[in-house]
């Protein structure tokens, strides 16, 4: 078996390597980044069959936990690791032509560190180590949001930086309180000891943690940074931030609530917050004229849906939520990446300026349509099955609260389809716009097409997806057992 720690070490080491050789290799450093992520894809995929049998525990520095740090990889970790590596390498490929100008090696260094942070957050088995990787992920995303160096990007980055820093202080206080109360930082050890903490402190620790992580996960009302950050960042970065960064933070919250804090009484509040987040996102998206802001608000809506599904307190809900994560990663990446080249070609962020663009950019527009259809949940796309599973899981819980919530979700879906169809109508109807608008280059269309294949042909491997998502759900749903780990 390949050691899962390489999933963190390879991108980190390559980032340092790029910084070393940037002076002599200049812009060719992107190929180094590509190789690193290629290795990551292979390792994460080869890890999956292993963890389905038994979770993998990696001890670092030869010191057994709880004294040392360990990585703990279950099906959820392996699946997320695959999502991060695959989405990462595809977006990196897109960046090859999309990112222009001098000093590109800094972009690729930051991109690799963003991957390092995400992988670390998912794989680690230690709460302070989680905080360190959270910082790596957060700081690299602040910088990447402002990478273009324009006024909007800079403003969004500073806004994101301020809110994100307040959030990370909350997480740090939660970690400190946990250590004070239980004397351990190891997740598996903690899962056994946390029950003995006094209930008031328990609630406070949990609220601190959810608030802090909720900023990064863009849960309402902590998400005011997201529309600016996701719309002002370079489109490749928007795709990554919407595609897996907010989901990584969300899954950490879910993992803590179910398997470490084990406090199911908060779940109903979280699912209510999820539905509110969904409605706020969809209503806000409805009125936007800037295409990237539409997509950013739609991400808020989707994260609300995932939060709702994962807080149903049932394995079916968690499994449906995991499927929705895959669907959102693929379809939202398509939309952001296509929007990136449309903005580049037309020089405008307003989608009303894209009249008849489908005649000039047929392939990109078609891929955009596929992404929209899967996001709304039209059969036979992957999004249909994940939304269907979420609704089935919610109705299976069977109380009035969840039935009302399902109605609200369907209302959100209707709003979502209205504003997306409005955009598609502009793409396909009307005279083609003047000017040198032409199809995006192959390095952009190819990765987008692969995302499209995932959502289009996902239904062919639906049983497999259900098995993997189900085992990830089972891992999250059951408390980490210390005997199972050590």
């Amino acid at each position: 078996m390949v050691n899962p720690i390489l999933l963190i070490i390879i991108p980190l080491g390559t980032a340092f390597l790029i910084s070393t050789v940037a002076g002599s290799l200049k812009n060719s450093t992107k190929y180094l980044a590509f190789l690193a992520l290629l290795a990551n894809v292979w390792i994460s995929i080869s890890l999956l069959p292993q963890v389905l049998k038994h979770p993998v525990n990696v001890i670092i520095a030869g010191i057994k936990p709880p004294l040392g740090i360990n990585l703990l990889v279950g099906p959820m970790g392996a699946i997320f690791s695959i999502i991060i590596s695959v989405a990462g390498i595809l977006v990196l490929l897109y960046s090859f032509k999309y990112i222009e100008g001098e000093g590109q090696s800094k972009y690729y260094t930051l991109f690799l560190l963003l991957i390092t942070g995400s992988q670390g957050m998912i794989l680690t088995g230690d709460i302070f180590n989680l905080f360190v990787f959270f910082e790596i992920l957060a700081i690299s995303s602040y910088i990447l949001v402002g990478y273009a160096g324009d006024r909007n990007g800079f403003e969004a980055a500073v806004k994101y930086l301020i809110l994100g820093s307040v959030g990370s202080v909350f997480i740090l206080v939660a970690v400190a309180l946990i250590y004070q109360e239980t004397g351990t930082l190891n997740m598996a050890d903690l899962a056994g000891k946390f029950a003995s903490v006094a209930s008031g402190k328990k609630m406070m620790i949990m609220l601190f943690f959810i608030t802090g992580m909720g900023v990064e996960a863009a849960i309402f009302p902590l998400n005011s940074w997201l529309p600016d950050a996701h719309s002002s960042a370079p489109s490749s970065i928007s795709a990554v931030l919407s595609g897996f960064v907010i989901e990584v933070a969300l899954i950490v919250i879910i993992k803590f609530v179910y398997s470490i804090f084990a406090m199911t009484e908060i779940l109903q509040y979280l699912s209510l917050v999820g539905v509110i987040t969904l409605l706020v996102g969809e209503f806000a998206a409805f009125n936007q004229g800037n295409i990237k802001r539409v997509l950013a608000y739609s991400s808020i809506g989707q994260i609300g849906l995932i939060l709702f599904a994962m807080t149903l307190n049932s394995e079916a809900g968690l499994s449906a939520g995991m499927m929705q994560v895959v669907n959102h990663t693929a379809s939202k990446s398509i939309l952001f990446l296509v929007a990136g080249y449309m903005i580049k070609m037309t020089g405008s962020y307003q989608f009303t300026d894209y009249k008849g663009i489908a005649k000039k950019m047929p392939v990109s527009s078609f891929l955009f349509v596929l992404g929209v259809l899967s996001l709304i949940g039209v059969p036979p796309f992957l999004g249909f099955f994940s939304k269907l599973n979420i609704i089935i899981a919610a109705l299976a819980v069977g109380n009035t609260f969840n039935t009302v919530m399902v109605f609200l979700i369907l209302l959100g879906t209707i709003i979502e389809s209205v504003y997306f169809l409005k955009i598609l109508q502009i793409f396909y109807i009307g005279d083609p716009i003047k000017g040198g608008v032409k199809e995006a280059p192959f390095t952009a269309v190819f990765p987008i097409a692969i995302f499209a294949v995932v959502i289009l042909l996902g239904f062919l491997v639906l049983p497999e997806i259900n098995i993997y998502a189900g085992s990830a759900a089972a891992e999250l749903f059951t408390k980490i057992q210390i005997t199972q780990v050590f």
């Binding site: 070490i9 910084s19 520095a61 030869g62 910088i143 309180l177 406070m204």
Partner: protein
Amino acid sequence: MRKLVSIVLLAGFIFYFATLTGGLMIPSASDERSSVGLDILSRTADETGSANAVTSVVVLYRGFDTLGEVTVLFLAALGISVFMKSTGGVRKKALDQSFILKTGSRLLFPLMFLFGIYIITHGHLTPGGGFPGGVIIATGFFVVLLTSESVEFNKTVMSVLEGLAGLSFIGLGLVGLFGPDNSFLQNFLPLGDFNTVFSAGIIPIIYAVVGIKVAAELSSVVFAMKESK
């Protein structure tokens, strides 16, 4: 009105916080709870061979966190260089300070450099180590830059040093991966004589690498700020 509401909310929050965690700063009453700290304290000398228990925690027990923290610093320096470059601006004409300041800083620089190296290499014996030592060296560069603005530093050398130091940290960790325990950052060198400079296996080596990295990163932050003036 908004201010009033926010003050009331803040006060309520502080009150809630204070009632729930009476004695937040006081360690827990039962020693059984803080078992991890006591455990480490009782076994660090035999296990790691480091006379300074804090260093053994920073470099070995939680060495993976240290790798992460070094990366956070690397990111912060990178971020400053990205943003300073994009904000641009007109560069002020280089102006040197008086002769006394200039000579004084040049006299101080080698001493600070040497002191930084001392702090770094004795990290496993006395309080100190890679982080404070690296800061001291960076301060030495800072003093020279403050007094003689016409001094130019080679930025490429700095970024190569940063990258190489990071790579060596990872490289040292990877050696452990091929060791008997197949564990990243495993202490694979002999522990040596307790409380001497050549002891504690890879701890002083890793701390030296951390020191170089911290010094290079903080210096490059200062250079980036100087250039964008």
